[in-house]
Amino acid sequence: MGDDGWTMKRRETQATTIRGYDRLIERLGGEFTQAAAAFQQLRQRLVRLLAWRGTSDPEALADETLERVARQLGGGLEIKSEDPFRYAARVAQLVAHEDLRALRREQTVHKAAQEQPTTTHDDDDDARMASLESCLEALPAADRELILTFYRGEKGSRIAGRRALAARLGISVNALRIRAYRLRQTLEQCIRDQVDDRGEPEMKSPPDTTERMEAAS
C-alpha cells in the first residue's frame, strides 16, 4: 500500500472510531457534558477491572478497550446490553488476556516487579497535594469534613472516629463507607483532571467536537 493508500486507510479507521465514540456517547447520555462524565466513570471502572486482573498497565489498556469498542460501534455493531459497561468489560477481558499472555511470554513479570519503584517523586507529591487541596475546596463543606474525618487517624482511632461520624449523621457505618468511597472517587477524578490539564496528552475523555470534525474531514 502506497503512502496515499495508507493515509486513506488511516483516515477511514479514525473516522470509524470517531463515529463509534459518537455512538458510545449517545448510549451514555446524549448530552456531551453528561456523557463525558459517564465516559470517565466507565473508563475508571474498566481501569479497576484491568488492575484487579493484574495487567501491566490498566490505564493504557482501558483506553485500548474503549478504542476497540468505539471501532466496533463505528463499524455498525449494536450493543444489546442495557449497560454499555458490560459490553466494554467483556472487551476488557480480552484485552487483559492478551496483555497477560504477552507478559508471560516476556517472562519478566518478577524482574519488572522488583525493579519498579513504589514511590514517586517529591515534585509530583507536591503537585498532587496542591490538586488535592483545590479539589477538597471544591467539595461542599459537609462532604469535605466527611471525607477528612473518615480517613483521619491510625487504625483504632480511625474506627472509633467512623463510628462517631456515622452516629452523628444517623447512618450505618457501612452506609458511611459507601458515601466516603463515592466522595473519594469524585476527589480522585478531580485530581486526575487537574493533572491532565497540566499537559499530559492522554486520551481519557471522548474527543471533542473539533477533533471529531478534523478526523472525519
Binding site: 477491572l49 484487579w52 486482573r53 490505564e59 472509633a160 462517631a164 452516629a167 449523621l169 444517623g170 468511597y181
Partner: protein, 272 residues
C-alpha cells in the same frame, strides 16, 4: 470463603485464573460486587500506606497492584489524602473558649463550627427561657424560675483567641452547665465517661462517673451540670476520661462569688 476474603485474595494475586475470571464476571454483572471490590481496594491501599498490612500481604501487594503505574498513582493519592486528613488534630487539648469569644469560622473545620453554632443556639434559648421564666415568676407562677443556669460551651482551643474563658457567676446562679464539644474525639452517645473538676485550691470540686455523651444538633457533646456552690473564684479544670485515656482537660476561670450561705445551698449530690 467469604466474598471479602475472595476479594482480598484477588487483590493480592492469590486466585487461580479461573477464580479470577469468575470474580471478574461477578463484578461485571453485579455493580454491588464491583463497588465492594473497589472499596476493598481502597482500604487495602490505605492500609499499605499506613503500614497496617502484615509483611506477607504488603510484599504481595507490591508485586501485584503496586507493580503498575495505576497502583503507584493510587498509593500516592492515598498517601496525600491520609496526610491531609491527619493534619487536623482530632484530640481536644487543655483549654477551652466560651461562646462569644471565638474567632472567624475559617479558623476551624466547618463541622466544629456547626457544633458551636448549635451550642450557641442552645445558650440563646436557655437565656431567653430564663428571661421568660423569671417574668413568669414575677407574675406569680411559683417554682418555674427557681435558680439561675449559666451555660458555657467548652471546645478545643482556637489559635489566636483567649485560651481560658472567664465565667461570671452571679448571686442567683445555682448551676453552671458546661457543654463539652466532643467532635473529633471518636466518642459516641453509647460511651461512658468520668469527669472531675479541680478547683483553684487543687481540691476536687465536683465529680461524676458514667457521664454519657449526647448529641447536640447531631454532634457529640457532653453536658456537665456543676452546682454553683461547688465553685470558687479562680482557675478550674474539668478533666474528662473515657476509662482508657484522657479525652481532654478544659480550663476556665470563675469570676464573682456565689453568695449563698453553705447551709442554704442546694446540696451537690455528686460532690465528693
Amino acid at each position: 470463603m467469604t466474598d471479602d476474603a475472595r476479594f482480598e485474595r484477588l487483590l493480592l494475586g492469590m486466585l487461580s485464573e479461573d477464580e479470577i475470571d469468575a470474580l471478574n464476571d461477578d463484578a461485571i454483572a453485579d455493580d454491588e460486587v464491583a463497588t465492594r471490590l473497589a472499596m476493598l481496594e481502597d482500604e487495602m491501599i490505605d492500609a499499605y500506606v499506613r503500614d497496617e498490612l502484615d509483611d506477607a500481604s504488603k510484599a504481595r501487594l507490591e508485586t501485584t497492584l503496586l507493580r503498575t503505574e495505576y497502583g503507584r498513582e493510587r498509593v500516592a493519592l492515598a498517601r496525600a489524602l491520609t496526610a491531609r486528613a491527619d493534619r487536623v488534630d482530632p484530640e481536644p487539648r487543655a483549654t477551652v473558649t466560651p461562646i462569644g469569644e471565638r474567632g472567624s469560622p475559617r479558623a476551624r473545620p466547618g463541622g466544629r463550627w456547626r457544633a458551636i453554632a448549635a451550642i450557641a443556639a442552645i445558650v440563646l434559648v436557655a437565656v431567653t427561657a430564663l428571661f421568660v421564666l423569671r417574668n413568669l415568676d414575677r407574675d406569680g407562677d411559683p417554682g418555674l424560675a427557681r435558680g439561675g443556669l449559666v451555660v458555657v460551651a467548652l471546645a478545643p482551643p482556637v489559635r489566636g483567641l483567649p485560651a481560658v474563658p472567664s465565667i461570671e457567676i452571679g448571686p442567683t446562679t445555682e448551676t453552671l452547665r458546661l457543654e463539652i464539644d466532643l467532635e473529633g474525639t471518636g466518642l459516641t452517645p453509647g460511651d461512658r465517661l468520668s469527669v472531675r473538676l479541680d478547683g483553684p485550691d487543687a481540691t476536687v470540686r465536683h465529680r461524676a462517673e458514667d457521664a454519657v455523651p449526647t448529641l447536640v444538633a447531631g454532634l457529640p457533646a457532653l453536658i456537665v451540670d456543676v452546682p454553683a456552690p461547688a465553685l470558687q473564684p479562680g482557675r478550674h479544670t474539668l478533666h474528662v476520661h473515657d476509662g482508657r485515656r484522657r479525652v481532654g482537660a478544659f480550663a476556665f476561670d470563675i469570676r464573682g462569688l456565689p453568695t449563698q450561705e453553705p447551709a442554704t445551698r442546694k446540696p451537690a449530690t455528686q460532690e465528693p
